[in-house]
């Protein structure tokens, strides 16, 4: 699973990254988590609000920082 966090480096983006890393660890997933900070690349995903959570090039969520349990649900859903 290829997970990307989109965000230009604000607090919310860091919080989402942390929460996602925790969610991946708790689920014991085989996934890589990377950050996309370049604004032009971020715009390619068609979002207007950061941070965003992208799994295998699909935007699952944007504009807010969800709880770890919500991220876990999203990750499990997209795994299927």
């Amino acid at each position: 699973m290829n997970i990307k966090i989109l965000g230009t480096g604000c607090t919310n983006c860091k919080n989402l990254e942390k929460a996602t890393i925790n969610a991946v660890a708790e689920l014991n997933l085989n996934a890589t988590v990377s950050k996309v900070e370049d604004i032009q690349q971020i715009m390619n995903y068609g979002i207007m609000r950061t941070p965003a959570l992208v799994v295998d090039e699909k935007v699952l969520l944007y504009g807010r920082v969800p709880s770890v349990s919500e991220i876990k649900e999203l990750l499990l859903k997209s795994k299927q």
Binding site: G7, T8, C10, T11, N12, C13, I39, Q40, I42, M43, N44, Y45, G46, I47, M48, R49, T50, V59, Y62, G63, R64, V65, E73, L76
Partner: protein, 345 residues
């Protein structure tokens, strides 16, 4: 795998909502006698001394403002789920200049916005053909007229000042955006912006009412969690001013007669962004000590509406002359508001 904790959580949330609302009301209603009881009977302080009145101010204002903030942010958090930058952009597409400015400023109040999303939002608007001036109207109104500022103004100054703040903020956002549009400053937008190709726009998410209530709670957690400390520090300083600074002390340098105080307070206000929640309680205490309303209003608008960090963020997409023009026009608007209100009141 289906997670079956959801119904349980949902019930708990509903329960929480219906229990918390009456608790909120009772606390808010009995705040004055309660805070008097704490100060006079529990702490047994002598009435009328500087220290007593400072502490009374603090013990009453802190829970009052935090209670107001919690309720309003919860409600605004729910209302905001009905708006989104994506929908706002759709509404603004193809609007003529003046109408676009008005609509963008109004939508700026209710659309969820965080200054860290200023760039993607700016690019998203420009990309779909919304004029530069209309985009600016949105970017001025969204941070300036925010729920934290309005709640603090309402709680500490009363509804009239909160209303004046909203209306003058709107007028500034509309006219500054309109002027920027008329000046045709597209040449001062970074060149790559107009060449950029954004990906296909995402559809809005579908939310149930339960989801919206959940967002309301999340907004409270995020925003109150972030500002409560500033609010307490601000009210503590305000309480000190309230108890110790002599009456009319501020009149000489923030009063009506000191005309230069309006531009000066705007310049001082620009770098003070992060303390918006803390600055309003201090200003409310200063007004009590003779600072003029117009000067104070100008100061608060500059603190909240003209923020240095946001300008640094916008520098990625705007060239320096445009940022300076933007600050100049908005600053002038705030200055007119300051002078006007010093003249009227």
């Amino acid at each position: 795998m289906k997670l079956n904790i959801a119904p349980n959580l949902r019930n708990r949330r509903r329960f929480l909502f219906f229990v918390l609302l009456p608790v909120w009301y009772i606390m808010y209603h009995y705040l004055q006698p309660l805070s008097d009881f704490v100060v006079d009977d529990l702490l047994r302080m002598t009435r009328g001394s500087h220290l007593t009145e400072s502490i009374r101010f603090f013990v009453y204002e802190v829970p009052k403002v935090l209670l107001l903030l919690t309720l309003i942010i919860f409600c605004v958090g729910i209302i905001r789920t009905y708006f989104s930058p994506e929908r706002t952009r759709k509404a603004l597409e193809g609007k003529s200049h003046f109408t676009g400015n008005v609509l963008a400023s109004l939508l700026g109040i209710v659309t969820p916005f965080c200054s860290c999303s200023a760039i993607p939002l700016f690019l998203g608007f420009i990309e779909s053909g919304i004029p530069l001036g209309v985009t600016f109207s949105f970017l001025i109104a969204a941070p300036m007229i925010n729920e934290v500022a309005v709640v603090l103004l309402f709680g500490l100054f009363g509804w009239k000042t909160a209303f004046i703040y909203i209306i003058t903020g709107l007028v500034i956002a509309i006219s500054a955006g309109w002027i920027i549009g008329r000046l045709h400053l597209e040449k001062w937008v970074e060149d790559w912006v107009y060449k950029m190709k954004a990906g296909e726009q995402l559809l809005d998410e579908q939310l149930t009412f339960e989801d919206r209530v959940k967002r309301g709670f999340e907004a409270v957690r995020d925003i109150v969690g972030k500002v409560w400390l500033y609010v307490m520090i601000g009210i503590a300083v305000g309480a000190g001013v309230h108890g110790y600074v002599p009456q009319d002390f501020m009149a000489s340098f923030m009063g009506k007669s000191a005309w230069y105080s309006v531009p000066l307070s705007i310049v001082i206000g620009i770098p003070l962004y992060s303390n918006a929640a803390g600055i309003i309680p201090i200003v409310s205490a200063l007004i009590e000590k003779g600072a003029a309303l117009g000067t104070s209003l100008a100061f608060m608008m500059s603190v909240i509406g003209l923020s240095l960090p946001e300008m640094i963020i916008l520098r990625k997409v705007l060239k320096m002359p445009l940022i300076l023009t933007f600050v100049g026009i908005v600053g002038t608007g705030i200055m007119i508001v300051g002078f006007l209100f010093n003249l009227i009141f």
